[in-house]
Amino acid sequence: MCQPVIELTGLTKKYGDFTAVNDLNLRINKKDIFGLLGPNGAGKSTTILMMLGLTEPTAGSVKVCGINSTTHPIDVKRIVGYLPEDVGFYDDMTGIENLVYTAQLNGIRKNEAKEKAGQLLERVGLANEGKKKAGKYSRGMRQRLGLADVLIKEPEVIILDEPTSGIDPSGVREFMDLIHQLSSEEGLTVLFSSHHLDQVQQVCNRVGLFCKGKLLADIELTEQQKREHGLDDIYNRYFEGGKDHE
């Protein structure tokens, strides 16, 4: 298998004078659950877009499983599942139809896709809502449907951009458990971005602290660390430190 799964070297993205991502170097290994933690506007989403080839870096390179995302986005997107922030579905199609459509875009046969969609809906806890139009789904249900949508192509890496924004606390808890369970059962590498400290430390085994386009720290979290003091002091220390530089 490819090691590391995601490799960013000197990644930079500028919008005019504004630097969204600044000389980012990062390696994410297989089976990691990596949390990108940072305040809004820190460049998390931009980094994720560059990983998928949805926007071009100004400098540096992104490699996913050794494939360059900027020059070969199709090959990357074949193995990466991406759940955008505030994911949208075709409202006039049912949950199952939406999943089948995605599956077909990935070259899966229709019958097979239907079967798989059924299984995945059960897995994310929407077994009874599959025949409902996606327009009638609540925010939390849409997010879970999004997770099923990401999994239907059987990816090796899943990237989730702020997957928990707008879901109530119990929904968040369920969602995070689901991610954790998936990663351990299927051996998936997970990268997700969030600005909620507690959610990140709940499931991640590695955390990257992100601020103003820079990676301030890359911390390995052990079970013991999680139990004892968590990330709070580290977070505070780094973000205080970040302010000092200005």
Binding site: L49, K77, D86, Y90
Partner: protein, 318 residues
């Protein structure tokens, strides 16, 4: 049912079924079908009066179904040239921006498909719908006409009809592409619809006025030589031809009125000795070839613009 479809055709499939089920399309098809029936009715009531002695087009009575009118209601051709743009605009104006606003664009583009698949499929899907609709309407008008006047079309008339429909499809395709381009440019569907309608109105109402103004300013004096007058006429006609509707009208009249020999001014020397007879289909096609090329070129330009703006743009969610 259980084949692996190429992702491109998966998207086309979805687009077509979306269009066919949408209210927008049903409303359009009702409007267009009604106007076609109306124009067919006027054509049928006036077709007798339209036959004049020594008219070379008399041999093509059937084609008159599409062009004859008594002035109360426009003919089929005029209706298509008027409603065709509306059809193209209606099917394309929210092609990309609605995906963006629903948050589905970034989800679809994160699937392993080329980016251009999406705009190509949107275009092809709408074009298939338009093509089927125009062919169905054209054949329906032919069928009703056949029942009413009882004279079957000749093979040539039939072919001219088919070419007329194909030209109409090209014409609608131009407007479709223009509206897809605007749907990429503008985030709001309403803005892009308005921009398309503005261009449509400009070409169908204001453009002729502007050309008339220019024409008055440039018109040669009464003492100008023939050469100057011909030159002036050519120049004005070429200005008019920047409007897609002008190209379409020239192409369709030539195809449906076989006696039309030239679309520009002709001198007496050129006409001298010519027998007023209809042109064979091949020759009519040759006459309209530049118009067709112009229409296709305009379509391709819109497509190229859409490509350039879409291929390298950053796709954010919502």
């Amino acid at each position: 049912m259980n084949r692996v479809y190429h992702p491109f055709w998966v998207i086309v499939n979805k687009e077509v079924s979306d269009h066919v089920r949408s209210w927008r399309f049903i409303i359009l098809i009702v409007i267009i079908a009604l106007t076609c029936m109306g124009s067919l009715y006027t054509a049928l009531t006036n077709i007798g009066a339209s036959i004049k002695p020594n008219d070379p087009d008399n041999a093509f009575l059937f084609l008159k179904l599409f062009t004859v009118s008594d002035g109360t209601l426009p003919s089929f051709v005029v209706f298509i040239s008027f409603l065709g743009p509306l059809l193209g605009i209606a099917l394309g104006f929210d092609a990309i921006n609605s995906e963006q606003n629903r948050g589905t664009l970034s989800r679809i583009l994160s699937q392993p498909i080329h980016r251009d698949f999406l705009i190509n499929a949107k275009f092809v899907g709408a074009l298939i719908v338009i093509g089927i609709m125009l062919f169905a309407l054209g054949f329906l008008v032919m069928g009703f006409g056949l029942i009413a006047i009882g004279i079957p079309p000749t093979a040539e008339e039939f072919l001219r009809m088919v070419f007329f429909i194909i030209v109409s499809i090209f014409y609608v395709a131009f407007w479709l592409n223009l509206s897809i381009f605007f749907s990429i440019q503008f985030r709001q569907a309403a803005t892009s619809a308005l921009a398309c309608v503005a261009i449509w109105l400009f070409f169908s109402v204001f453009y002729n006025m502007i050309i008339n103004l220019i024409g008055k300013a440039l018109s040669p004096s009464d003492f100008a030589s023939d050469y100057q007058i011909v030159h002036y006429q050519r120049f004005m006609l070429n200005l008019l031809r920047f409007a897609p509707s002008q190209l379409f009208n020239e192409a369709t009249t030539t195809l449906l009125m076989p006696s039309v020999r030239s679309l520009g001014p002709l001198t007496m020397e050129q006409v001298h000795g010519a027998i007023p007879s209809p042109l064979p289909l091949g020759q009519s096609l040759l006459v309209v070839w530049p118009q067709l090329t112009g229409l296709i070129a305009a379509t391709v330009i819109c497509f190229a613009l859409s490509y350039v703006s879409f291929m390298r743009r950053e796709v954010r969610s919502r």
